[in-house]
Amino acid sequence: MFKSVRFIVCVAGLALAGTAQLRADKPGCEYQPVDVEKYGGQLLRLPPEIRSVDRELDARLTLAYSMQPIAGCETHLRLYDGLLTGPTLEVSPGDTLNVDVVNNLPPDPPPPSDNINDPHGFNRTNLHTHGLHVSPAGNADNVLLEVQPGRRFQNEIKIPRDHPPGTFWYHPHVHGSTAIQVGSGMAGALIVRGGIDYLPQIERMTEQIFVFQQIPYDKNGEVEDFDESFGPGVWDTSHRQTTINGQIFPVIHMRPGEIQRWRMIHGGVRESLELVLDGHQLNEIAVDGLVTGRIDSWNRLELQPGYRSDVLIRARALPAGRQRAEFILYDGETPASRSLLAVDEDRQALAKVVVEGPPMSMQMPSEAALQRFVPFAPIERIDGYQEAVFNISGGQFTVNGREFSPDHRRVLELGKAEEWTLNSLRVNHPFHIHVNPFEHERIGPDGRPQRVWRDTLLVRQDTPIKIRTRYTKYIGTFVLHCHILDHEDQGMMELVEVRLPGSPPDGRHAHMSHEHVAMADEAGHGHGSSARMAAGDAEESEEAYEPPSRVRKSIDDLEPEELENYLHAVRRLKEISDQDPTSKDGYDYFAALHNSGSVGPCEHARDSFLPWHRAHLVEYENALRRSDPPRTSEVTVPYWDWTRIPSGSRYPTIIEDPNSVLYHRGRRTTEICRPGQTNGCEPLPFPWTVIDETLDDAPGWQGEGPYFFGGESNEDPVCRDRQDQAYGALESPSHNDMHSRYIGGAMRSPTTAAEDPIFWSFHAFIDLLWDHWQARSTSSKVDSCLDCQLCGLFKDPQNNVDPWTVKDTVSTAALDYRYEFTPDEVAPAAARVAAFRAVPFDSHPAAGMVSALAPQAAGSQDLLVPTRVDQTVSLRLSSVPRPADVSYRGEVYLHPATESFRPGDPEFRKLYLFDLYSIWRGHGDHARPDVDVVIDLTKEVEALSVFHAGELWKVSVAVVPSEEPTADGERAAAPAPDALMFDAARLQGLGQPSENR
């Protein structure tokens, strides 16, 4: 057999390297039934746990050969930290997972062949966080990395703040060595704790972790020989026993009536588990870590390799007169049709539950309470279709007729939702895809169909199933594969790349057609012709594609020549205006487009805000480039990353240099605090932590309040009819506050802002953030007002024809530019309050910001802290004034009713200020005198409900007028605080709405 030949070579190589000696069977390691009574019966031990501290989890996983006894056999295995099950890693959403993988294994022998689908290099490793929705790139969940023997590697995986809490796991994932390493026991639980875990009923429960493993050690106690370790007929004839956390047949103690939460993880390679707990139901609340919103009571629960299931077990009451009862957790009989071993599997006892002691009265959570932790909305709209068909044919393990190849990848587009058809042409295979979970319709225990989200799903032979998935947040390359890991190592895996919208179609990467799959199936080797056809497509499309030619960089990162050319171009535009103020090639024209109601004007407080400014920047950049070619032909607008400590005192150095053309009088000049500096400076108001959250928290484009990125639309295609609606999440507070309070001077007012050359770099960063949001959001495209014309902007401005519309601005790639940008390190969260339980939410970074004018109290609203939060909680401020002559900020506090509202007290601000809204003064014909503002309190109230349920707190609002007067010649009135008071405040989402004026 082809495979056998390969493994003889492989084993010979190992022997030469001295890592596997040919010797007689080791006593105790014979292939014979395990004496469960003798080697089992110990209390279930949870793996050691490593938790995050201050948002960081720092762990080291050392991979080395270790001796560990299993059922009388002294095994010699590749293990993490010498443990049969790796330590449990526990994080919360928003944490960073820093895992230092230290590979202390010996060097590998040369690979057995040139075929990368020959299992090889068993001592190379890396780290995969199975099920996490995190970046697949760089040193995050990147399974294309290899940590060679003798090397170490620092993984840094950022868990987004909106990541669903749940039960996940980690294991190595280098192609060629995955099965050997995971099979040896290299796997551990990865718990993301949050949300559902703080439901009072669940918090009371004892939590158990079950990592099921099938370690196929041979008669020497080793897992070295691929063929002897895996493959049909191996496990079931070896009489090895499934272990739980490395233990044989452990014991779990429960009291009658007690409910425990069991987090069950199938960390094995190819055994199907069909779990049955005698006399009990397995009440499933989460599948693959993701909350279902239901309690599904199973008598028999299927766990395939890679699967997880969170179940609630209620111990039975003891019959009268009984002090103790025992129940066995079985892996039930599995018929060959469902088995991954393709044989009828016998029942195997896995663990024992002992019920004894005084009875307990515990409650299950309600399904209504669970429902709000369902992590994703159902996918109702499909943008396209994909197909993945597993097959074993001609000695090859294939996906869509193709063995794994680093030269082939399936290309998907970020933001799209697609329906996949999965099938197997030979035996059963668990399908697993990294990064993005998928939605699947299964039959529930009541016999009815139900939707669940998961990341691994058994595909049965000749039984096509459909799943739906969205490619959200992360671009990059990862894999899909069969989670029978020896199949994966032998080629049943495919690279998947998620690209930005607007990236080139790539024929080489396109998914295969039905015709192709059929051809591969019938011919066995028929993929060759299709491969050639696909390669031809690739050549054609690659010729047609050119990456964006314009690259916008940080103004601090420009090469000296690039900076000089940019400054020269700005000077040229100013000279043009000096010579002819009415020239549409001069600086004044582009400033007037923004500042003047009769030329533009700029658009704000509606969903054309971001499109308008994107088009404005493009036109300005075009003018810069044509101002003095060839010197200026390659100029782009550099951005100012105002989430970082500035290179100058308050602004980038070149922008605050009085001799620079980018300098403008009248800006605020107070220094921004450097690390460790607190006196005589202001803290950075919008560090990346805050902006990152803004990008995360606003999943939708069109609408009002913090959940929508673009703002509210009124769909008026004609500019003159358009009215201001409501700010999007980026416009307020960050954009507005930066204009009026951080920069000030001309930037304080929309009628003068673009006179200050900082305007362009400031808005380039706003544009970058929109681009960044598009790349990571589920709603990456503008979905409203697509045909709306952008006020005053024409692609042919000389003749005022060919108007810009919203749809022209949706893709930066289509506009031929991109940003070179790396987000700042996520800084430590704003100073956490010392007593977390006293105030269990973070204060806003601006809590430390000093204002020349004291905040004015604007009102308070009672908030009775609920025991649980079942829906979004928000504070809606109606008719928030937007005066024509002053910008101002609203500050929102959440504080105990026993504490008087003291917005001017620095200590009070540090503890209780949790959000802002910012109102930039009205401008132009569209300006409405007021807007509505919605503040999201859900996370804060959820946090409060854990420790403060039943207490009376208050939501209070203060307003802070901009320090400086308007300077544009309009009749200026002092900002009377009364004029900034909103009309009404309404708390929503807490049962009976209440109102306060």
Binding site: S577, P581, T582, G586, D588, Y589, A591, A592, S596, S598, V599, R665, G666, G745, A746, T752, A852, L853, Q856, A857, A858, G859, F901, E963, E964, P965, T966, A967, D968, G969, E970, R971, A972, A973, A974, A976, P977, D978, M981, F982, A985, N996, R997
Partner: protein, 181 residues
Amino acid sequence: MPNENGNHREPVWELHIRPMFRLIDHEHMSWLDLWDYDTVWAKREAILGRVSDKSAPMPSYPTGGPWPDEWVSIFRRWIDNGGHKLDLGSPDSAGYEVKKTFDGIRISAWVQVPGEGYRAWLDIESVGATTRHYSLVVEAPLDDPGGPSTELEVRDEFKAGSVEKLIVVDADGRHELDVPT
């Protein structure tokens, strides 16, 4: 919403008091210049008595009728606060810039003010066919928050039209400025 600390805007002569005296009032009270701050301040109690006297309403009904109570109240508050008025400011040494812009004419200047919270602007006194009159005014904050002196830009923009001259009165005197063509 109630304003918990009761910090309201206080009336200022130029913005809130003088506009209450209409042209007809000014004409009828020719022996008393109601548009002159010093005169009104000197006669404040007498004026307050007349405008709040319900038995002999002033202004009289044939000339428009008496002030509403709110106006009387504002006048009284202005007196109680010490008769707040604006000051004239001065531009810095660069003086005034009158410039043609893409869509009009802009007059601007930079003014040094003593601290945070001060406001300055070019107040339009009158607009004629060929001339626009301004005062450069500065308003001190009610409660001076202190802080370092700072500079503010004052400006006005208008459509070019037939305007040829701008007249600005400031602390340094009267300035005539030509509008560029």
